[in-house]
């Protein structure tokens, strides 16, 4: 026999008796929140369990709170993928959502509970490309497409600003590199511009002075992720401790970043005014354009998620001049 000499429960019992950290309690509370959002818990059950989770002393206490709920990993990850897939047009989603979800879940590492930034950006760009393909197929002019998508609300705004400028279709990262290698004279911005484009130090420092002591520069630097899925788009995400602070950070970081680009490009519009006027409410988005010489030099969209992070998507058209 290969059974261990100790009583069979010992190992588990010892692990279950281990004290939990504040982070463990928070994680359990967040899971409960997700289960409530998914409809598995009633309001009252959520209240009871949150109370138990936040006062849990041992691992066993936390396990009891989550015992009758499905394993978090698949669920949470799938929920988050579904939120991203909501960016795709409904008609496309209707046909392809399940198969894309299957691919995403199969490709995800076993222990991941959230999409990576690169993956999220890839889905956002994918959604934009599909929207663009559908609209082009419908023979819409980009002006009409923008009008339609602007009317479509939060996600439409994001797609609309991109569609407005995405002609020809946006390349993915891999495609962009390939295209550049194939055709070095293609009308992309010069590399030095690109480096400045990604340099967040100046705009973050400026934003920090506007935000005051609640979100100091070291915090902003440590909680900002930037990714450039193509040479024309930068997506960056700033984590803030609360939705209200995220909302303030959205205005400050967004405005500083765009002001920073403005100085380089000398455009004619000051989008800082747009951002100043609007208070960006969590769950909502704001979009605008930076005009230059009568043409559009760039478009941006800022969103504040209810979780307290902001996403700024900035799109540079390949041709800065009017066409």
């Amino acid at each position: 026999m290969t059974s261990p000499p100790q009583p069979p429960q010992t190992g588990t019992a010892m692990r279950d008796d281990l004290r939990v950290s504040e982070a463990d309690r928070d994680r359990a509370a967040a899971l409960l929140g997700d289960h409530f959002a998914a409809g598995r818990l009633t309001h009252r059950e959520l209240d009871d369990r949150l109370g138990a989770a936040l006062t849990a002393k041992t691992s066993r206490d936390l396990k009891r709170v989550l015992a009758d709920l499905p394993l978090p990993r698949n669920d949470l990850l799938e929920l988050r993928y579904r939120r991203l897939l909501a960016l795709y047009p409904a008609s496309y989603r209707h046909v392809h959502q399940d198969e894309i979800l299957a691919v995403l879940m199969t490709a995800a590492p076993a222990d991941s509970v959230r999409p990576t930034v690169a993956e999220a950006a890839d889905l956002i760009i994918g959604a934009i490309r599909v929207r663009y393909q559908l609209l082009r197929r419908a023979g819409l002019s980009w002006r009409r497409a923008v009008a339609l998508t602007l009317a479509g609300g939060l996600l439409g705004v994001l797609a609309g600003t991109v569609i407005a400028l995405a002609s020809p279709p946006l390349p993915t990262g891999a495609e962009a590199i390939m295209l550049r290698a194939a055709n070095p004279t293609l009308d992309y911005a010069r590399l030095s511009d690109t480096l400045d484009f990604m340099d967040l130090r100046v705009p973050l420092a400026r934003a920090a002075t506007r935000l005051g002591p609640q979100l100091p520069l070291p915090y902003l630097e440590a909680h900002t992720e930037a990714i450039m899925p193509t040479r024309d788009i930068v997506v960056f995400r700033v984590q803030a401790p609360s939705p209200i602070l995220a909302s303030r950070a959205a205005a400050a970081v967004g405005q500083s970043y765009i002001a920073f680009l403005n100085r380089r490009w000398r455009p004619q519009t000051d989008p800082a005014q747009v951002l100043d006027r609007a208070r960006i409410v969590p769950g909502e988005s704001l979009a605008g354009e930076i005009a230059r010489d009568g043409g559009v030099a760039a478009a941006f969209s800022v969103m504040v998620a209810a979780s307290g992070s902001l996403v700024l998507v900035l799109i540079r058209p390949r041709r800065l001049s009017t066409s």
Partner: protein, 109 residues
């Protein structure tokens, strides 16, 4: 004249030239074909598949449910095969010229 295929599209068509495949199969095959250089993510894959379908180079083949998840298979259409062949010919022609000129240059490469 048609535009040159973008690399992901070229690789996807190449993957499907071996027979119908589902999304995840295409993803792993593309990584293999490109020697690990190109790793398609789901968003890029499906945007490319959508365009290739609209252009009639790729079509729906069949569906399967595996472990409760939907697998949809895609296959190359005859125009897709033609397009892939034309692209492969074009690339090998360019590569031949490049190799020839490097030889003239006396480069060790």
């Amino acid at each position: 004249m048609t535009d040159a295929l973008r690399e992901p599209s070229f690789l996807i068509l190449t993957a499907l030239a071996a027979g119908a495949q589902h999304g995840y199969g295409i993803m792993t095959d593309v990584t293999d074909i490109s020697g690990g250089r190109v790793r398609l993510r789901a968003g890029s894959l499906y945007a490319a598949l959508n365009r290739l379908t609209v252009e009639g180079l790729v079509e729906f083949d069949r569906e399967e449910i595996v472990d409760g998840r939907l697998r949809r298979y895609y296959r190359l259409t005859p125009p897709g095969a033609q397009r892939l062949k034309a692209e492969a010919d074009r690339m090998s022609q360019t590569a031949t010229v490049a190799r020839h000129r490097l030889k003239l240059l006396g480069s060790p490469a």
